[in-house]
Amino acid sequence: MQQENSVEKKLKERIRDVFDDFELVIGYSQSKIPLKVNPLFIQRKEEIDDLIFNNLCINNLATYSYFLSNELKGKIGIVLKPCDTRSITQLISEELLNKDRVKSIVVGCAGILDYKKIVKEIGGLKIISADIKDEHIRIDTIDENFTLKAKNFYADKCYTCNIYDNPPYYDEFIENDSKLNIEPRKEYEDLDEFEKLSLEEINSFWDLQFSNCIRCYACRNICPLEVCRDKCIAQLDVPHWQSQKINAVEGKFFQLIRAFHLAGRCTECGECERVCPANIQLLKLMKKINKDVLKLFNYRPGFNLDEKPPLLTFKNVEKNIKEEELI
């Protein structure tokens, strides 16, 4: 679909140089489905040629880090964007990952396109083929053709990103000549708007969103920080937190379990929202808790290897918590 760009060349060269140290390298490769990419697991040097890196590489490959580092004995290298590195940093700061076992090969990012936004723009039609050239996306569907301006369809997280060329943590850094060039937005702007709605509106919003939930657990399994997927309390009978019935109430309660499991740990990579088959806006819940953690404890997950997550520690006097008195 596209020719090899300069950052891909640099990435492949670097990986070829260091390949012998690693048992496995994870990167991106071309997918048959238009506008999507596949994770690629490289175990032999020849497979490095299949690597790509472009503005469609939205998957967060840090999901595989915890489970592969437990399964394999040698070192694992993962190709990451700077926003994904936050997940690795958070896992290391919680001592779930050994930083000598998993090496981050971070590539400077020029922004990534959001597949769901593009599909929504063309009215939900199935994409037969697509092409990206000169900042324009050309799409063919059964009856119609579309041409979209790429810079309107970047992922939400790109508009508030300021680490696209200086990641918080890396073992190898590959610089990208093209830089992110879109108008920045204020952090948590959409959440502020959402909080202004009345309680009835919020309730009917969530009822509508969760009416399509099929409890597939894709959101939980794709999250890099949910290492508990084989031991999840939502699937246990004793203690009975949740019914196994598939309906809106149970779907919503499962997200509340997830929100509190990720409280103060979520790095807002957005994968949960991307993979949801029912298009539920899950990230709002995680962002709300992150916003409060930032306000109360001045902590952002995934930036500092040595800082302890705020809900795992405490202070005798909390400056920012104003408790209410009921007398």
Binding site: A259, K288, D292
Partner: protein, 150 residues
């Protein structure tokens, strides 16, 4: 700090003589065993009259409380949830209530985003000798819930 009611003059019999069968309100209270539960007990033995809408669940420490307990109570139909523990710096297990304070503050701010009124939840610190404080907390909390219910 919010003061819901000012002085004792504002408490009248209408606020105290209630129970779930009359009002239909269900309030769940999670009390820590060493301070708040003993405090509620002290309120009882001193014959301090309170509304009977609340149902108490005893936990060893306020730090035992998973925010999901509160959310599950709301999902199952509770109209209000009250959590009470030892005063900070005075926890029977030294640090439990420090963790609780952080978690429950996050929970309190989170409730509006999922459609639950923030005023339906409150966490307090009531010690074993504060029977009167417990009485006031219960009366005011139940009154607040009744106002929300309309």
């Amino acid at each position: 700090m919010e003061n819901i009611l000012g002085t004792n003059k504002d408490i009248n019999n209408k606020d105290i003589n209630t129970n779930s069968r009359k009002t239909g309100i269900k309030i769940v209270a999670f009390l820590c065993n060493w301070c708040s539960y003993a405090g509620a007990d002290a309120a009882g033995t001193s014959r301090l009259r309170q509304p009977e809408d609340i149902r108490i669940i005893r936990v060893p420490c306020s730090g035992r409380i998973n925010p999901l307990f509160v959310l599950k109570a709301f999902t199952q139909g509770a109209d209000g949830v009250l959590v009470s523990g030892c005063h900070p710096n005075d926890c029977h297990y030294s640090e439990g209530n420090f963790y609780a304070r952080r978690r429950l503050e996050i929970l309190k701010e989170f409730l509006p985003v999922i459609g639950i009124d923030k005023r339906r939840f409150s966490y307090q610190w009531v010690s074993a000798s504060e029977g009167q404080k417990w009485q006031k907390v219960v009366i005011n909390f139940v009154k607040r819930i009744r106002e929300i219910q309309g």
